[in-house]
């Protein structure tokens, strides 16, 4: 699978307002490649949910988007607190978000399930105290 294109983003963990900026820029870049709107939307939503998670749960991180011939891969890596129980975190409605985060419109416990729903492949590697790396793929079909 030859690497066609890579977009790299650093995600600032201190600024909730700018959260989602990387996903926004990435979406613009993908549009210029003439990829179908449906695929772009799925990638954008999955990346955006992951980006927001890094900001609200992990003090920021990095995002890499690789465009291959047959799929788009999104890798989100952070050095946050990690996820103790991944199975539980994947359940719809499960959230450790505070009331403050809820008042900002997040913390419904829908982000990880959404990421799974919109992608064809999703893998979570997480170590408590070290961080989390999430890899997702959306196939062109």
């Amino acid at each position: 699978m030859p690497d066609v294109l890579n977009f790299h983003f650093e995600v600032d963990g201190d600024d909730f307002k700018s959260a989602g900026h990387a996903s926004f820029i990435c979406k613009k870049n993908l549009r210029q490649l003439g990829i179908s709107p449906e695929i772009i939307r799925r990638v954008s939503i999955a990346m955006y949910e992951g980006e927001i998670n890094m900001v609200i749960h992990a003090r920021g991180g990095s995002a890499d988007v690789n465009v291959y011939e047959d799929c788009i891969e999104i890798i989100l890596a952070d050095k946050g607190p990690g996820i103790k129980n991944i199975k539980q975190a994947m359940q719809e409605g499960y959230s450790t978000a505070t009331d403050n985060i809820r008042s900002l419109g997040f913390g419904a416990g829908m982000g990880l399930p959404n990421m799974k729903r919109y992608t064809d492949y999703m893998d979570i590697k997480s170590t408590v105290g070290e961080g989390t790396t999430i890899t997702m793929k959306v196939n062109f079909e």
Binding site: P37, R41, I45, G111
Partner: protein, 118 residues
């Protein structure tokens, strides 16, 4: 339904992108939780919300939504308006509450539709 019809039904004011009022929307979603909105995929939808921050605009942008209605007289910030202009998203604001605004649009034929789990 045309966005201009939404404006009339909700007696809403246009905050920005007035030129988009002629566009059509085919479904709607009302929520203050952005991940609930992101769970909902439908082309050309309108978002009704009482939440006011930049993430509302970004969420709509990620979903390819082309109109956001702020209920309960909520007013978007200058930063939000800039983001919306960049994305061509029509921003409306109405004095109506969420329940009433959704009810009016629903009873005038604008349906909701949540995509089934893949």
């Amino acid at each position: 339904m045309k966005i201009s019809a939404i404006k009339d039904l909700l007696e809403a004011d246009v905050v920005c992108n007035e030129e988009g009022l002629n566009r059509h929307v085919y479904s709607a979603c009302g929520s203050d939780m952005m991940s609930d909105v992101l769970a909902f995929v439908k082309d050309q939808a309108v978002l009704l919300t009482g939440l006011v921050n930049s993430q509302v605009i970004r969420t709509a942008e990620m979903m390819d939504m082309n109109c956001i209605v702020f209920v309960r007289s909520k007013v978007p910030t200058a930063e939000m308006i800039e983001l919306a202009k960049d994305s061509g998203i029509v921003l409306l604001t109405t004095t109506k509450r969420m329940y009433e605004a959704c009810g009016i649009l629903f009873s005038n034929g604008l349906v909701s539709n949540r995509v089934k789990d893949a």
